[in-house]
């Protein structure tokens, strides 16, 4: 036990001597309480994802900082446009018909539809066919769709990428007969 204490004292740290201890004490104390309540699964998802190389990010706390969604959307859009690395956290749920559980992806990790669809194909192990402006996706039973801000289910690929990232609330990969109505030109 004593050895641990001594090790702590000799631990190398950045910062002024004598100040860090107090800070750390307090941090430890407050962290014991339910502080990061409602942390989304973002941290773990990032490391689990094999596709899309997102740099590690700080855990996001629900409803923090206290900024309205309309303001958050403005900032995230601008960041996506000016950032080349991405990884700024436009997380949406992805469901696939028939799959037992959903996944979450960070849309800002991708620069366009090609990358996104490739990532989805790998994640769910399916293939999406080819996109045609008029007929939609041909050559596959699967149709990638998304729910937009208005609550409507839209075909992925119709609108410019930036607009898609702003308005997309969640993704759903439809399959089979249900997909037929959404512009699947099979």
């Amino acid at each position: 036990m004593d050895e641990f204490v001594n090790l702590k004292a000799t631990e190398l740290r950045l910062g002024l001597p004598g100040t860090d201890n107090v800070c750390e004490e307090r941090e430890r104390v407050s962290c014991n309480k339910r502080t990061l309540q409602g942390v989304t699964e973002n941290e773990t998802e990032s490391s689990m994802m094999k596709t899309g190389t997102c740099p590690p990010r700080k855990a996001q706390i629900v409803g923090w900082p206290p900024v309205r969604s309309s303001r958050k959307n403005i900032i995230q859009t601008k960041k996506n446009e000016s950032d080349s690395e991405g990884g700024r956290g436009v997380y949406v749920k992805v469901s696939m018909d028939g799959a037992p559980y959903l996944r979450k992806i960070d849309l800002s990790c991708y620069k366009g539809y090609k990358e996104l669809l490739k990532a989805l194909e790998i994640m769910f192990n399916f293939s999406v066919g080819e996109y045609f402006e008029r007929e939609g996706y041909k050559g596959s039973d699967f149709v990638p769709t998304y729910e937009d801000k208005d609550g409507d289910w839209m075909l992925i690929g119709d609108v410019p990428w930036e607009m898609f990232v702003c308005t997309c609330k969640r993704l759903r990969i439809m399959r089979g007969s249900e997909a037929k109505g959404v512009g699947c030109g099979v």
Binding site: T19, R26, K33, R34, P66, S69, D150
Partner: protein, 575 residues
């Protein structure tokens, strides 16, 4: 006073407009209660569940204006799940059935439907003013009803609502004979706008004073609109994406020269960085500037604009202005009363756009400052103490340090002393939001000194129940207390149950209160609605004797005279 006839007393009461004062008047005696009842024009209901429409109508049969607020404040930050409540429909239906000559309806954080708007538009012949703030549940079809049917409409003011935009023709629903528009704000609409209908509407509205456009109104349309409405006092620019010397830009610059009445400028939802320079000619008259949505405009352009705004009283801006920019504000805007600085980097650890230095500069340079909302990455006690000394006149002080639990970045101490200095110096402080690393000590200060405090927002702060108790015992005028992620539990919650009758509401989320504690509270105080909001299915609230240990995720309680509400969704449990 009792020797005067009622009409005289009523005439005197007409000069009393504040609802607080009118409430006081009505308590003096039965006669005054009666006179006041029949003469009250504007009714304010801070919590739509505290009273019912029927009781409202019984007490005030003659009112013309109604203000209603629904969801708690933290709903703005997605802490209240969809479907929780705040439905305006029963209110509109009750008012429509009655004989109230409603002229104005102001709603905040309520759920509005197209059917409701349609009913509203058809039920009140003299309806003049609709103001919706942070509402949801309706579409442009509802707006079309208002436009079509409200012949005497003066104000249609939509602030930060979530509106389903059907890209319809709602603007063309205003009849050609309709010319009484004074305020039109549709900045929050996301879809395309019928520009032709908009231009014709503006051209036939000589009384138009306030026009706030959405992002779908491009520069050339803006130039044309401005050319036919030079009397506008309050302008919200939609989109401004053109090149600097384009024809539209030149037209705009020509139109701006006539804008001698302009006092308030906002918008720039889509903006090229250089666009602000066109507005320099009108800056010297501006009293209000809101560039908090203009994420593309760089700090340097903001600063150039602000250098011309010597009369500015209200400034909402993004932290891209930087400390240097705030120093320019401090040296230029000597009339500044309200400042809001919003973050551009939400996760902290990025660029330190504004720091404690900017806040200190503002406090030193702007003697009339009384309201501030400041998002920053770091703060020190020394800075806050200086701010308190410079600005003892704060009425609203909201500081949000982006990283929870962050201490004074120089001394690594909690920020108790800094906030303590603020509450001690600012004797008129009514609203306070605290952040950063804080112990129970700060709440001791708040309880001791913040005697006028009405609203307090706490996040990631405090150590024990004592913190919350200091506040509940000390702040006699507390009305709204909202707490998240802080270690306050049942002991604090239950210490003084009667306190909650003097408050509008209490919100506690991710704290230490248990189901057992909430149940005990509900038993002791039947005049409270104690709501447990529980979205997580796994966390089923069960009657299995473990209530004492079962933590409640979200608690929202409020006083009410009409008992348990009947419109609560399944995930809300009212004890």
């Amino acid at each position: 006073m009792n020797y005067f006839p009622d009409e005289v007393i009523e005439h005197v009461f007409d000069f009393v407009t504040s609802h607080k004062d009118r409430n006081s008047i009505s308590l003096v005696c039965k006669s005054w209660f009666k006179i006041e009842r029949y003469s009250r024009q504007n009714v304010f209901i801070g919590n739509c569940y505290s009273i019912s429409p029927e009781r409202l109508l019984r007490r005030f049969p003659c009112f013309k204006s109604l203000t209603l607020k629904g969801k708690p404040h933290f709903a703005d930050f997605n802490l209240v799940p969809h479907g929780w409540g705040g439905f305006v429909q029963p209110w509109i239906e009750a008012l429509a059935r009655s004989r109230v000559g409603l002229e104005e309806l102001r709603l905040k954080r309520m759920v509005v439907t197209d059917e409701g708007l349609e009913l509203l538009s058809r039920s009140f012949v003299n309806f003049k003013s609709l103001v919706l703030v942070s509402c949801e549940g309706f579409s442009t079809d509802g707006l079309a009803s208002i436009a079509s049917n409200c012949r005497h409409l003066r104000d249609l003011d939509l602030q930060e609502n979530e509106i389903d935009d059907h890209r319809g023709q709602w603007l063309s629903c205003f009849p050609e004979t309709y010319t009484s528009l004074v305020t039109l704000n549709f900045a929050c609409l996301e879809g395309e706008t019928n520009l032709v209908a908009l231009e014709r509407l503006v051209a036939r509205s000589p009384n138009l004073r306030s026009l706030k456009l959405n992002r779908a109104v491009p520069l050339d349309a803006l130039a044309r609109l401005m050319a036919c409405a030079p009397q506008i006092v309050d302008l919200g620019v939609g989109s401004y994406e053109d090149e600097q010397d384009s024809e539209s830009c030149l037209k705009l610059q020509a139109a701006i020269r006539k804008y001698t009445s302009l006092r308030s400028l906002s918008g720039f939802l889509e903006a090229a960085p250089h666009c602000l320079s066109a507005f320099h000619p009108v800056c010297h008259n501006l009293t209000s500037l809101n560039l908090s949505y203009a994420a593309e405009i760089h700090g340097s352009h903001l600063i150039k604009l602000i250098e011309h705004c010597k009369k500015l009283q209200r400034l909402w801006i993004l932290d891209s202005i930087g400390d240097k920019g705030l120093e320019v504000v401090a040296s230029t805007c000597k009339e500044l009363q309200e400042l809001r600085v919003f973050p551009t980097d939400l996760h902290g650890g990025g660029n330190t756009a504004v720091t404690e230095d900017g806040l200190v500069a503002i406090s030193a340079g702007c003697p009339k400052l009384h309201s501030i909302l400041y998002f920053c990455q770091q703060m020190t006690n020394a800075a806050l103490i200086t701010v308190a000394r410079n600005c003892p006149n704060f009425i609203r002080f909201r500081l949000c340090i982006l990283e929870p639990h962050k201490p004074d970045h120089v001394t690594s101490q909690p920020l108790d002393e800094g906030f303590g200095a603020i509450v001690q110096a600012c004797k008129n402080l009514k609203r306070l939001s605290v952040s950063g690393l804080l112990t129970d000590q700060v709440f001791l200060y708040i309880g001791m000194f913040a005697t006028q405090l009405e609203m307090l927002s706490i996040a990631f702060a405090g150590d024990t129940d004592k913190g919350m108790l200091y506040v509940l015992n000390g702040c006699k005028k507390m009305r709204k207390l909202e707490i998240r992620d802080s270690p306050f539990g049942d002991a604090a919650l239950l210490a003084d149950v009667n306190k909650y009758e003097t408050m509008r509401s209490l919100w506690m989320s991710s704290c230490e209160v248990t189901l057992g504690g909430c149940k005990r509270l509900a038993r002791k105080a039947p005049w409270l609605n104690v709501e447990i909001i529980n979205e997580n299915d796994n966390n089923r609230m069960e009657e299995n004797g473990y209530e004492g240990r079962q933590k409640v995720d979200k608690l929202y309680l409020y006083r009410t005279v009409v008992g348990t509400r009947v419109d609560a969704p399944p995930f809300v449990w009212i004890l």
